[in-house]
Amino acid sequence: MSNFVASVGMEVHAELNTQSKMFCRCPVSFGGEPNTRVCPICMGLPGTLPVPNRKAIELVLKTALALNCTIAMHSIFHRKNYFYPDLPKGYQVSQYGDTNPLGYDGYLEIPGPDGETKRVKIRRVHLEEDTGKLMHLPSGGSGVDYNRAGVPLMEIVTEFPPDITTPDEAKDYLTQLRQTLLYLGVCDGKMEEGSLRCEPNISVRIEGTDKYGTKTELKNLNSFRSVQMGVQFEVRRQIAVIEGGGTVAQETRGWNEQKEASYLMRIKEAENDYRYFPDPDLVPMCFDDEYIESLRATLPELPLAKLRRYENDLGLSTYDAGVIAADLNRVEFFEAAMELGGDPKAVCNWLTGDFAKLLNDQGLMPRESKITAAHIVELTKLIADNTISGKTAKDVFAKAFKDGRMPSEIVKESGATQISDDSVIRNLILDVLNANPEAVTKYKSGQMNVKGFLVGQVMRSSGGRANPEMVQKIVSEELEK
């Protein structure tokens, strides 16, 4: 039996977060009654002409910079010619060529499982327009919804030969790319709504050989899980085909989420000839260094850099740092808490623990809740200086979540302050020991486990407010006397 290695190329399409479409001023948003967000231009009416959306160009350039690409300082749009009812003009405005796309020759770094970093090379980042959507009508037959036609679409393609060799890496790449796009604010990243679409191409070859196998392309993947499972399924399927003496056919396959299996959509017999040529209706885009550098200056700290900073500078575990960095809402909260002098680990625990759970139960975003970073920082300080116990803190937090009052206020009002005064605790303990002479006798005769019973009695007599660590310590001291 030979060992197989897989090669996975990733082609990702991201709808850009612009107000209006790529070449007309129709609004961009998801859903809506079919053909309500259209105009003569995006419907391809005769005589209409495209006027590029500057914002879309800017968003692609920012992405290209974040993905460490070379920027094409002179870049043009091409027409990609093919017939399909969802394509209003009979061509799609896109970008062709090796060094013509707005960005090319870049890379994205992804965090590996053991704290290492893997670099995935990116061939190109280019700008194009989305197509409409063919849909089956309830009354039979089919119709086309052009609401999506002309929405600015960014295509990000990895380099060949691919750096990605496992289903996990495919998922990690997509995760890191999506986070990057969200950090940049260029795309809302909603795979289930199709604003982020991923079409991996997969091939396998015997380890040690340098000839790449025949690729299949996988479509209809609408979650990270389906990307991972789809790639895995495809790798296994191809290996089985080869081991069974067959050959892998160049084909496009769809992913069936229910059956968790891929199925044949169409066999690619020959490369489509799209007859690319420069779009004569559009003029070249030319950028100067000053403009590009001004865009570079607006780039935020990117997800992986953030993760590494949390790890190295704040001492969070890779896991914790990853959990925070993965979610911009958490990042915002966490960093506000750090500004207020919060302890990284303690804040992180609350953020990913009770807070996350309560938010999840209520279906809220952090900023929609009554809790602010100040609440969490104050709470962690009350615990740290032994004013309240961890257990009390949970109740205090739940109250604060409900009414938004500050933890210190809640603690003061309920008298729930922790008792940490040595003499007060010692008096409570002496009372308990005096009331339970037989337990003390048992302890002294070697039955050490009655100590737990005595500690419990002390805690109860204090209404749970005695500092548990001090109770433990003083009970031992008194019994040993």
């Binding site: 009416l45 005769p46 005589g47 002409l49 017939f83 009812p85 061509y91 000839d273 040529f277 004569p280």
Partner: protein, 483 residues
């Protein structure tokens, strides 16, 4: 008679309230009703809308705000979109298509108080030089109704020549304004590429197409160019410049101007009658003080070949949108691919299909470099060679067409011969430069067009020269024998 007035004269009489906008419209509509059966210029005339336009124009006049063309009826080539009026490009594939918007040139014309008279015939999608490729009707030359008016703006040229309209808009991709103007004995002006918005012009060859006026005088051409030109944010290829000004039209002098005569545009293909008229015009202009020098622009030899790669290539893509899915007639078929195939098979005429196939071939993988890319290189070279000439000369003079109006049907079966007729006009489109054709006399009773070409963006200067030439030539504004 109202219909014999130039647009400038008519507008003056309207502004002074000697003639009302409705009267001006009536006169032209009556004449169209009486005579267009004979000439076949118009594909659509929307009287109701025209009277509404005339009403708004009259309101402008009554406010005392009349401009130089307010109230003047305008014929519009049927590949220029008109809100609410069927726009077919003389193709069956757009039968019944009514645009929901006006082309920018139409918006501007209406804003200037012009009245849209109707839509004029053309070769289907502007592909042709005789207007015989129209899917709807034959247009006849007012000088001889057994002859073609030229094309593709044949309807616009013939209706202005026959005085069915004072002026018209056409489009020029390889000579489609200048050549019919020449064959119909009128003025046809193609501005610099990008000075008139193409928004709303149904695209043929996007990098070559330009809208422009067909008129009976250079002054009218300058006035209509002024109204319709200027930067348009809806057209990315529109140049950020003010409209073409007519302010200094009459302030020039021909004395001392240097003109180039490219020998390639005086090739043997020029018919002897045409040659004689052009040569006598040159003599007249010499007497006016113009200095003529023969020059050579070798790349002109490749103009027609290059044009017939670039224009069809762009057309093959531009015409892909006509699939019957969103607008226009749809043929029945099994599945969407079959529907599109049958719609296009039944909707397009022969010449259009031929050009789509040529263009598709020229863009195909493996042929792109040899055809489209090479053609663009020749085009760049041609532009360089012309720029060199303009560095030394004020304008270029040549015949517009090597022949006068030919018989209807004479060349229909010889598309190659028809295409070769374009060699004098094509360079202006390849180089994006302005060009104008004006009548310089008759050969065997048929008008001969004189073409003047100017440096890109020098539209005002070219019009000024053309005005001077028109004033010098005794036969420039000669009219045909018409009812």
């Amino acid at each position: 008679m109202i219909t014999q007035l130039s647009a400038a004269e008519l507008a003056k009489k309207i502004a002074s309230k000697e003639i009302s906008c409705a009267e001006a419209l009536d006169a032209h509509l009556d004449r169209i009703e009486k005579l267009d059966e004979q000439y076949g210029c118009f594909l659509a005339v929307d009287r109701e809308r025209a009277y509404e336009d005339a009403k708004s124009a009259q309101a402008i006049v009554d406010r005392g705000e009349a401009g130089p063309l307010t109230g003047v009826p305008l014929a519009v080539k049927d590949n220029i979109s008109t809100d609410g009026i069927e726009t077919t490009c003389a193709s069956k594939i757009l039968k019944g298509y009514i645009p929901p918007f006006d082309a920018t040139v139409v918006t501007k014309s209406k804003a200037a108080g012009m009245v849209i008279l109707g839509k004029t015939n053309l070769d289907e999608f502007a592909m042709g030089t005789s207007t015989e490729n129209s899917a709807y009707k034959i247009t006849r030359n007012p000088w001889d109704t057994t002859r073609a008016p030229g094309g593709s703006s044949g309807g616009s040229a013939a209706c202005v020549s026959a005085e069915l309209a004072p002026l018209a808009l056409g489009s020029d991709t390889g000579g489609s304004i200048r050549q019919p103007a020449s064959l119909c004995g009128i003025v046809g002006f193609k501005p610099t590429y990008g000075r008139c918005s193409r928004y709303g012009l149904v695209a043929f060859g996007s990098s070559l197409d330009q809208i422009g006026p067909l008129t009976r005088t250079v002054e009218d051409a300058a006035l209509l160019a002024e109204v319709t030109s200027g930067h348009d944010p809806m057209d990315s290829t529109s140049i950020e410049m003010a409209p073409i000004s007519s302010a200094n039209l009459k302030n020039g002098s021909l004395k001392g101007l240097k003109a180039a005569l490219p020998k390639e545009l005086f090739a043997d293909a020029i018919n002897s009658g045409v040659r004689a008229q052009i040569e006598s015009a040159i003599e007249v202009l010499k007497n006016e003080g113009v200095e003529f020098t023969e020059v050579s622009i070798p790349s002109i030899e490749y103009g027609v070949t290059t044009y017939y790669i670039i224009a069809p290539a762009e057309a093959s893509s531009n015409l892909a949108r006509f699939d019957g899915i969103r607008y226009g007639p749809r043929s029945e078929g099994k599945g969407h691919i079959n529907v599109v195939e049958r719609t296009r098979a039944e909707g397009f005429g022969h010449e259009v299909k031929a050009r789509i196939m040529i263009g598709t071939y020229a863009l195909s993988a493996g042929y792109y470099d040899a055809f489209y890319l090479r053609a663009q290189q020749v085009r760049a070279l041609m532009k360089q060679e012309f720029d060199k000439v303009y560095a030394e000369y004020d304008f270029i003079l040549s015949p517009t067409s090597p022949v006068t109006a030919f018989k209807l049907g004479e060349l229909v079966d010889d598309p190659l011969a028809l295409k070769l007729l374009d060699f004098c006009t094509i360079p202006a489109n390849m180089g994006g430069m302005p060009g104008i054709s004006l009548n310089c006399g008759l050969a065997e009773g048929l008008p001969v067009g004189l073409q003047l070409l100017g440096a890109p963006l020098q539209d005002e200067k070219l019009l000024q020269i053309a005005y001077g030439v028109e004033q010098s030539l005794p036969n420039a504004t000669q009219r045909p024998q018409i009812p």
